[in-house]
Symmetry: D2
């Protein structure tokens, strides 16, 4: 049974304390994708006035998980197998959005791609590009 955006958000916030700390929100989910965001706070800032790398990585990881949950239903024991992030430009000090898609859903691994976007509607900049895989529980 497929999950709603609110259900995915609650599962992730309950399971991953850091997602809760970051104010992680799930805007939209569907088969194979999730749109998520974190709301800006001063705590994310690092020298140079930009959002720190670990905050971007935490958002990317939670977003991949959201896309996997949206595609498979509740699979609490799925764990990240690897994550690779390229930081393309410094995000502005504002909300950060993530668009995660499942590129391939295998029996043992879900392989995902995430784009992190900064800025308002119609003026979004790609600030980081992420790929990663989730190991799925044996069924």
């Amino acid at each position: 049974m497929s999950l709603t955006a609110a259900e995915v958000e609650e599962l992730i916030r309950a399971g991953v304390p850091m997602a809760d700390d970051l104010g992680f929100k799930v805007d939209e989910v569907g088969q194979g994708y999730a749109h998520t965001r974190i709301t800006f706070t001063e705590r994310f800032i690092r020298p140079g006035g930009t959002i720190s790398g670990p905050v971007q990585m935490a958002l990317a990881d939670a977003s991949m998980y959201a896309a996997v949950l949206a595609s498979l239903g509740k699979v609490e024991m799925a764990v990240t197998s690897n994550l690779s992030i390229n930081f393309l430009q410094k995000p502005a000090p504002c909300d950060l959005k993530a668009q995660a898609i499942v590129l391939r859903l295998g029996r043992r691994l879900a392989f995902c791609e995430v784009r992190l976007l900064s800025g308002g509607e119609g003026d979004e900049q790609l600030v980081a590009h992420v790929t990663g895989s989730y190991a799925l529980p044996a069924t």
Copy 2:
């Protein structure tokens, strides 16, 4: 002028709020390397009783930065260019150590490797393997 472990720790904690939240400690630094750790707290846990991926990534990123600072002195504007992590096994719910080395220090990029270790002295397990690069400020 080279920095002490305490100076590196203070620079990172002051500059990256998440490092401070995680109780990031620098045990030892030298030319080309840094040994660091985070002290376990219940807040790191995710389903399955293990330390969450984002916490591991935050430690790895801060540790690379520590190794770069230890090698170059104070370069506050260095930013992570990319980071790739492979999660090898679930860390136990205890302190997590990181051993970061600078594999190559170029003019524009410092390329690093980090090993995340879990468990007590003499019984450490490699739980994650990380590579990444830091973009250095133009000089």
Copy 3:
């Protein structure tokens, strides 16, 4: 001055002998992208009847280079800085296509994404996903 698909192909085949060995072809180029392919031969096969990983990586690397050349004009000294490939499924023993895009063109690095596709028109499968960066010559 922008280059044609034929010019990009010739530059790469002249400069990278392995591209020539693989029968590397450039179908189409434009600002920020390149569509390329290699023609299947029995020499690409590995156990399991699939195209070997190194052949896929060589195609991906040449395709990134094609997208960079298409975007910047002739920059012979650009070199790959890193390349990360995820093999998603085994390609069929037939031509392999690549769609490379430049995600971000910085002053020092061009960051690219490549999708490797197998199969005929209208029935293409994503077989590998690649990200990578090219170091650009100082200007």
Copy 4:
């Protein structure tokens, strides 16, 4: 039953035609590691007088496979799941060596690290750093 260096070399050359083209040699193997090399030929060269990226990637991939075969015995159907390479400096136009180790041998994945070295005994330079994983056949 463990394999000798010669047996590993023969398995890889028979199975991966590109390894044979490159003159891939296995110098030494043992539980969890393999030392390999390719003999320099003019065909590897790219603009700038250095060994091309695809040749380095092919060597790295074959070396990971050698370390897996050395550790598990004959597992012909193991396939690369991902490979990530960072090119650290341009290799000189001479033989290229690879030191591959298995960092973790799981039930489903073998996770490896490879260092590519250029230059003579006692004067070796680390030219590329590679991580990757091999999917193991279900047993």
